[in-house]
């Protein structure tokens, strides 16, 4: 243990602790900007670049960045004397001097960490005016890059390279002209970007934001000829409340449904329903493959990989084009919902496909891209028209001056609003495979599952594995969240060393609850675990917790699809994958 | 020079150094000529005509053979054309002395007596000049 003095307070910390954390221990909050961490997940960004967190260490010539200077025995530290305050303020003014002053119309206004600091420091003048760097604004299907607002905190670069191993972004150029960008400053759309949105979720300013589709939805809602159907993903209900000041982990399912009705959606449905449908299809495929494998069929590929996560799908299309036959062919819940809504449900209510608008509320930015994919269109009409994030929904509710906190709790509409606990846990890492196990176990063994919760599949470690006993058939399950972890499992599959029968992958750390479209967690990993806990508690509250027991699902198969894996199910609920090659050149030809 | 014979020990290295030292001997000496015996042979036309070249070679080879650290240089005409070949010898810490009519035999005597023992020998030309 090391004892040091911070602002005249004695503090004892373990060796290796940074000054920043030592200060927090005694309630001294040193402002930071580039520093970012999700400590439970081993994710940390501390390039030491912004110099906002500098403190004075007695005996040292220069000010020290508290985020990366380790505490030493006997250190005497001042975190707010005049020298430190002048330095911090000057540096902040410098950063602002190379940042657009368009806060009023910035997508990040109110959520911007730079803006918060300017408020906290009481910046009233900008004496260091000068040249500002200007770059092209780049809009992709999911993410907008407005790098004039980049402050070179490098968080996005860290997420994209170290955590996600996507490698779409890198710091480029040097000095004043340096900025984070894709290779050759090409469009994100042409880069190996997967739209996982983790860069957006950590960007402190408005340099990286989602493409906002709220106005498209408003247009649809005001069009009397359109029937507007909305689906909400499981992770949204566990996080939306944060935007209205509720404690992280507060479930707001009922209020969310009420708010969507208030906003004017004609039908408020649940993606959990199509999650159950996914289990029916994917679980069936899993069983088929395993049975084929056991029967010695050489054409069967194992492991089977889940395919609900569009960021993950983009990732393997880019990086593992040789393994396109490994993932399940089942569409994601969002797309299954769209396909069913615009066929089965549209028929049911007698609305033409073209007159129905399907909107999804997602914790995810890759969903925006997914719903625009050509495979998910019929005669150019997409199964899901618009996908907005949890954050966009919150902004929409606020814009409509709906008193969210005092809304009554309401229920989803029928029939696409009915779901089981299995559908809900899709929002957590490990949830999809757990839901699949619940159904596959009963379908395979014909026995009733005694213990519904496969707790061995839960947790926050990046890569987890468990062996599930299917009544004498041991199934090896692998789970990865975060694309960097996924890459490790996929490298094993490629080299033939994978020991798993089935692998669940989610692109975002924590799964969908940590998605790129969720309310900003600002590096507080506690928020993620509370959202996860909320999802599991919703599962426990549900009377039905296995997808194949969902009455609406059963009815859907009876009335429309026939069997899971039937021809009709295949044409509506399954898809195929395409190789995408990284780099400049492929794009240049087209 | 890349004769692939590796230097395998410190003794090898020292031996190698002895072998190659001659290459740069002259340069080492030139750095501190004051501390060495300096021999200047007048090598203008008149000197060469009267055999200065042989005398110079004799000095170069013999001083080396007799292990005397010396710098042998040539210089222009010293102005004593009557006494060519002329040689100026400077012992460390002493004034320069010029000898006239030097031939290999005389040179041998100069080395043995003056350079080795500091004893003056015949043939000194009075000094009333400045070295250019």
């Amino acid at each position: 243990m090391i004892t040091l003095t911070i602002d005249k307070k004695k503090v004892e910390v373990e060796k290796g602790t940074t000054i920043l954390k030592a200060a927090r221990k005694v309630g001294i909050e040193i402002p930071t900007l580039c520093h970012f961490e999700l400590c439970d997940m081993g994710i940390e960004n501390k390039p030491g670049g912004c110099r906002i967190c500098v403190v004075e260490v007695e005996g040292r010539r220069n000010l020290a960045p508290s985020c990366m200077t380790q505490a030493e025995e006997g250190m005497v530290i001042k975190t707010h004397n005049i020298r430190v305050l002048n330095a911090r303020t000057t540096v902040l003014k410098l950063i602002i001097s190379d940042h657009p002053f368009d806060c009023l119309v910035c997508a990040k206004s109110g959520q911007c960490e730079l803006q918060h600091l300017a408020t906290q420091f009481g910046i009233r003048s900008l004496p260091y005016e000068g040249e500002q760097s200007h770059y092209r604004k780049d809009t992709s299907p999911s993410i907008i890059r407005d790098v004039d607002k980049c402050i070179m905190c490098r968080r996005c670069e860290m997420m994209c390279n170290e955590v996600q191993t996507v490698g779409a972004l890198s710091a480029v150029n040097r000095g004043f002209m340096s900025v984070v960008a894709p290779a050759f400053e090409m469009n994100l759309e042409d880069s190996p970007c997967t739209y996982c949105g983790q860069c957006v979720s950590v960007c402190p300013t408005g340099a990286l934001t989602e493409v906002d589709h709220t106005n498209d939805i408003i247009r649809a809602l005001t069009d009397p000829t359109k029937t507007v159907v909305v689906q909400t993903a499981p992770a949204v209900r566990a996080a939306l409340g944060e935007e209205f000041g509720l404690e992280p982990g507060t479930l707001v399912t009922g209020k969310m449904v009420a708010a969507l009705r208030e906003l004017g959606f004609d039908y408020v449905f649940d993606t959990d329903f199509s999650a159950d449908l996914t289990i029916m299809e994917e679980g069936t495929e899993l069983l088929q493959r395993i049975r084929g494998h056991l029967a010695g069929d050489p054409d069967v590929r194992l492991p089977i990989l889940t395919s609900c996560c569009p960021g993950w799908v983009n990732f393997f299309e880019h990086n593992f084009p040789d393994l396109l036959d490994v993932p399940s062919t089942a569409k994601s819940p969002q797309q299954m919902f769209g396909a069913i809504a615009k066929s089965y449900f549209a028929d049911k209510i007698g609305v033409k496909r073209k007159e129905m608008i399907v909107v999804s509320i997602m914790p995810c930015l890759a969903k925006k891209y997914e719903c625009q994919r050509d495979e998910f269109k019929v005669d150019g009409n997409p199964d899901v028209d618009f996908s907005i994030s949890t954050r966009e929904l919150a902004a929409f509710i606020k814009k409509a001056n709906i008193d969210f906190l005092n809304l009554p709790e309401e229920d989803f509409d029928d029939p696409l609003g009915e779901s089981t606990g299995a559908g809900v846990i899709f929002g957590n890492t490990g949830g999809v495979i757990e839901a699949a196990c619940r159904t596959a176990y009963e379908l395979h063994t014909g026995k009733k599952l005694e213990r519904v919760a496969f707790t061995e599949l839960r947790g926050m470690e990046g890569i987890r594995s468990a062996t599930v006993d299917f009544d004498g058939l041991p199934l090896n399950i692998g789970i990865a969240h975060g694309l960097g972890n996924a890459r490790k499992l996929l490298d094993d599959v490629r080299s033939g060393q994978s020991v798993y029968h089935a692998i669940e992958i989610m692109a975002c750390p924590g799964g969908c609850i940590g998605g790129g479209g969720q309310p900003y967690h600002h590096g507080n990993s506690e928020i993620l675990s509370r959202r996860a806990a909320a999802i599991y508690s919703e599962d426990e509250r549900k009377s039905i917790r296995k997808s194949h027991e969902n009455p609406s699902i059963i009815r859907l198969y009876e009335e429309y699809l026939g069997e899971p894996g039937s021809h009709k199910a295949h044409s509506l609920l399954h898809t195929e994958y395409f190789p995408k090659t990284n780099g400049v050149t492929v794009h240049l030809q087209s | 020079m890349n004769q692939m014979t590796g230097i395998k020990t410190l003794a090898d290295l020292k031996k190698k150094q002895e072998e190659v030292r001659a290459r740069i001997n002259l340069r080492d000496k030139a750095e501190n000529p004051e501390s060495l015996v300096q021999v200047k042979v007048a090598m203008a036309t008149c000197g060469i005509a009267s055999g200065a070249k042989e005398v110079m070679e004799f000095f170069v080879e013999e001083l080396d053979k007799r292990s005397i650290d010396a710098v042998v240089t040539q210089t222009g005409c010293m102005g004593y054309c009557f006494a060519e070949p002329t040689v100026e010898i400077t012992l460390p810490g002493r004034e320069p002395v010029v000898f006239g009519y030097v031939n290999p035999a005389k040179a041998d005597e100069i080395i043995e007596c003056y350079i080795k023992d500091g004893e003056l020998v015949d043939g000194i030309i009075p000094q009333n000049y400045d070295t250019i």
Partner: protein, 183 residues
């Protein structure tokens, strides 16, 4: 985005499939010989990503510049994201994505040359050739670059045309230097 500038016209003539060390097949707009040359260079450094800078040196030495396609092939060989390669190329001033002129002019703007009037010499070159620093004349004959100290401070101000060094250059002498190459 100056991608157009970075691609030499002849590059479009062929398209080849390349399999990088990562096993992924890509299609690159480069003639086969060039791809093979790049592969050879990468291979001579064991496709080691840590040798990226040495690989880039060698490649630029061979091709004269590092267009996007070339960086792409290098990235695949060294199993690096192409963004990383681009990040490195744009960090170091020695690397260029624009082909230099037939006679690349480098004006030393080190301190010794600066205090002896390098800036005025540079201005004169700019005026004479009507291009900015870092640009190449439309006919591809000349390009101007600045460099920091070639260590010939005794000759300040110093100008290099290709490998040839011109010392004590005055603004008046610029025309005659250019004349030498205009024939």
């Amino acid at each position: 985005m100056n991608q157009k500038l970075s691609i030499a016209p002849e590059v479009f003539t062929y398209m080849e499939k390349v399999t990088g060390a990562d096993g992924v097949e890509v299609i690159v707009n480069l003639p086969k010989e060039k791809i093979e040359k790049i592969n050879d260079i990468c291979h001579s450094f064991d496709n080691d990503p840590r040798e990226l800078i040495n690989v880039l040196h060698e490649t630029q030495h061979t091709f004269g510049y590092l267009p996007a396609e070339v960086q792409d092939v290098i990235a695949h060989n060294l199993t690096l994201p192409v963004a990383h390669v681009y990040g490195v190329v744009t960090f170091y001033s020695f690397f260029t994505m624009i082909p230099k002129g037939e006679h690349p002019i480098s004006v030393c703007t080190g301190t010794a040359c600066y205090v002896r009037g390098a800036e005025k010499v540079l201005d004169e070159f700019r005026k004479e050739l009507d291009i900015k620093v870092g640009e190449t004349t439309p006919d591809g004959r000349f390009s101007i670059n600045c460099l920091r100290c070639v260590g010939a401070c005794g000759l300040a101000p110093v100008v290099l045309v290709g490998e040839k060094v011109y010392g004590r250059v005055s603004p008046d002498g610029v025309k005659s230097i250019l004349e030498e190459y205009k024939k």
